[in-house]
């Protein structure tokens, strides 16, 4: 029932928003819906901790610690973003960013689209996390793209059309490879499952019989899946849609894309990694993952260094972190898996916080360029400035923030596992990103005050900023017991121990 509630609540939220007449009604419906789904995710986490796995309808829906963690992260980001977007979209409406029209009808339809598609987007992400059938998981992943394409074109500008086109086409090609991979995996298990065709693609069934799967087919399947879900995760060289989509989409959507959807794409990859490593041994998938992971980290370095556009900077940062997590998955073992899960949790908080800060800065200065802001964010908008700087320090892995711990853990996994080259490159690329990000963002936030006007009160946006910032600081020193237990459980699912 709990699993069903996780899907029904966002679906109902979307329907209710679609039929809502007033802006305040849409806001309230979204807030209530995402609040409820967050509570359901907490309940699911508690149940998974108590019972191990939860399944429904003969194993059609299935959740273990890994799915529960991904769901918890998705719903918490969604809740914060829905709070934030109330203030964000009201500001857009007042400042005319939604386009001027006298009757306000067009603005209303734009808002309706946003408040309807966002719950649908979250719905498809949650569907992906609770689907046991790998084919259904694929369909849900494709649905995340379809639901978010028109969120990317929200502002209807020429640039956002270009971004959405790249996003839809590159995503579509990537996912067609993922579908092929899913199909080949089905074939690999087809000969053994025989007549029970309905559960033949169920992950839990395939994972039990992983050793008997056809080895050649699984090899091909994993390569295709890595390319496919890797495209959705934005691994290099399939990352090119990412900076465009993240910089053109409304900020709350970008926050969802860069944290929750990244997690979902990695989640799909992890599920196949588990199957493949049980079937072929960890060596084959691990080499490929390390290659793509390190490549993504490496590719993002020059772009971070020369970036002039702060939302694109954050996007390249996400590519870097997708690379870090893929590398962690490639390192595998108890240590690598734990590092991966911790990093996923910490990155989700820090990256969505960064995007929300960037949104605050953008709405105040109305420019995306570092050069036009010329420093002084800290003095104009103290809260945003402090939080932005803090989140930036956190995400580049400065102690005492949490991402330092997870990156350190991943690094230890690299050296313990004898992956010397991986460890060295990891440090090297990390340093490059560190320098680039600190240089740009530091320059924007610190420094003397420019001639920007004073900031108005913004309770919705600053409230959500504070909530995430508090979570980021607290989690650096103390991870709540049940959450840590869930993370450890998820890591055990990944490493198979």
């Amino acid at each position: 029932m709990l699993l069903l509630a996780l899907l029904l609540i966002p679906a109902a939220t979307a329907v209710a928003s679609y039929f809502a007449r007033r802006r305040t009604a849409m806001e309230a419906v979204n807030l209530a819906g995402f609040g409820a789904v967050f509570v359901a995710a907490l309940a699911l986490g508690a149940r998974v901790l108590a019972e191990g796995t939860v399944s429904l309808w003969n194993g059609f829906f299935y959740a273990d610690a890994l799915s529960a963690l991904v769901i918890l992260l998705t719903t918490s980001v969604a809740l914060v973003c829905s709070t934030y977007s109330i203030g964000y979209l009201r500001d857009d409406q007042q400042s005319g960013a939604l386009g001027e029209d006298a009757s306000g009808r067009e603005q209303m339809s734009q808002l309706r689209m946003y408040y309807t598609l966002t719950p649908l987007f979250v719905f498809s992400m949650l569907f992906m996390a609770v689907a046991n059938n790998l084919g259904v998981m694929w369909a849900a992943m494709e649905a995340t793209t379809l639901a978010s394409v028109f969120l990317v074109t929200f502002y209807g500008k020429v640039n956002s059309l270009e971004a959405a086109w790249k996003y839809a086409i590159i995503g579509g090609v990537g996912l067609s490879m993922a579908l092929f991979g899913t199909l080949v995996a089905y074939y690999a298990g087809h000969s053994l499952s025989g007549s029970e065709a309905l559960s033949g693609l169920n992950w839990s069934v395939l994972a039990q019989h992983a050793a008997q799967l056809d080895k050649t087919s699984m090899r091909l399947a994993f390569v295709l899946i890595l390319m496919g879900y890797g495209t959705k995760a934005g691994l290099a060289p399939m990352h090119t849609w990412k900076p465009d989509a993240y910089s053109q989409a409304p900020v709350p959507t970008a926050a969802l894309l860069s944290s929750a959807m990244l997690n979902c794409a990695l989640y799909g990859l992890i599920r196949f990694y588990i199957l493949t490593s049980r079937c072929l041994g960890a060596e084959f998938p691990s080499h490929l993952l390390l290659l793509f992971g390190l490549l993504s980290m490496g590719v993002s370095v020059p772009f971070v260094l020369v970036q002039t556009h702060y939302r694109r900077l954050l996007a390249y940062h996400t590519i870097d972190h997708a690379g870090i997590m893929t590398t962690a998955l490639g390192l595998g073992g108890a240590l690598g898996s734990l590092g991966l899960m911790l990093h996923m949790t910490f990155h989700t908080i820090a990256k969505s916080l960064l995007f929300l800060c960037a949104g605050n800065v953008y709405q105040h200065f109305r420019t995306n360029q570092f050069a036009d802001i010329k420093g002084g964010v800290m003095r104009v908008m103290p809260l945003t400035g402090v939080v932005f700087l803090m989140a930036m320090l956190a995400i580049i892995g400065m102690p005492p923030f949490s991402l330092f711990q997870s990156e350190f853990l991943i690094l230890r996994a690299a050296f313990d596992g004898g992956h010397l080259l991986t460890g060295v490159l990891f440090v090297l690329f990390g340093t490059g990103v560190f320098a680039g990000a600190l240089l740009h963002v530091g320059g924007m936030i610190l420094g003397p005050r420019g001639d920007a006007p004073a900031v108005a009160r913004r309770p919705w946006r600053d409230g959500s900023l504070l909530a995430l910032a508090t979570a980021l600081v607290v989690i650096g020193f103390w991870v709540p017991g049940p959450l840590l237990e869930l993370i450890r459980g998820a890591a055990r699912v990944v490493s198979g121990q």
Partner: protein
């Protein structure tokens, strides 16, 4: 005498092979096609033969769930998507020709080469002990997939890229029915739903790109860089 062959497995194999060959020929015709409306109709014809292959395999293997997949192909890819796209073309008043990046004869040669690759890859899946239909079809499926990729790269017009993406998906469908006699029904339904929604979403996007750029030439989408 006329009724006999219908029950013969070898005869079924021949029908499937023949229709798979037709599907492949249509895919190559798409590579060289210069008019967008004809491109859409070739896609519809290709999807029609695909549905027929699915129905044939369903008949010989007594697998009723493949009939549903065949019916869905017929409804979604032969009727709905082509109608949708032809309307779009009419609404946008496109007259201009499709300009491929690589010229016609060379792209056909490349498509031929990719077909060869498809056959080589499909060999590794061939299991002589496993009697069944559609092992030629797998080679065709992989070729469709590869040629679809090539067409996507080779085209500048937004709508033709969408058609190439859909023909690539046709390759996947063919692979699914020839490898495993289709995916589980629920997956099949999900995939068809996604294809239909994707066609609509991409159609709307194409229309809006056309409005904003006064062209669907995606090589003009070059403002976002770095």
């Amino acid at each position: 005498m006329l009724m006999m062959p219908v029950l013969d497995l070898q005869f079924g194999e021949r029908i499937v092979t023949l229709m798979a060959a037709l599907v492949l020929v249509l895919q190559i015709a798409m590579v060289a096609q210069r008019w967008i409306v004809i491109h859409i109709r070739i896609f519809a014809a290709q999807s029609f033969f695909l549905a027929m292959i699915a129905a044939t395999i369903a008949w010989y293997n007594h697998a009723p769930h493949i009939y549903i997949a065949a019916g869905l192909t017929l409804v979604v890819k032969v009727i709905l998507v082509p109608i949708l796209f032809e309307r779009l073309v009419k609404k946008m008043e496109i007259q201009e020709e499709i300009e491929p990046i690589v010229n016609g004869p060379l792209s056909i040669l490349i498509a031929g080469g990719l077909t060869l690759v498809g056959y080589v890859v499909a060999e590794s899946f061939y299991r002589p002990d496993e009697a069944g239909l559609g092992h030629n079809a797998l080679a065709v499926a992989i070729s469709l997939f590869l040629i679809g990729f090539f067409t996507m790269i080779n085209r500048r017009k937004a709508l033709t890229q969408v058609l190439a993406l859909l023909s690539l998906e046709n390759g996947l469908f063919l692979a699914a029915i020839s490898l495993t006699y289709g995916m589980p029904l629920i997956v099949e339904l999900g995939v068809f739903f996604d294809v239909l929604v994707a066609a609509m979403v991409l159609g709307i996007l194409v229309y809006r790109i056309r409005e904003s750029f006064a062209s669907m030439d995606v090589s003009r989408l070059r403002r976002l860089r770095g």
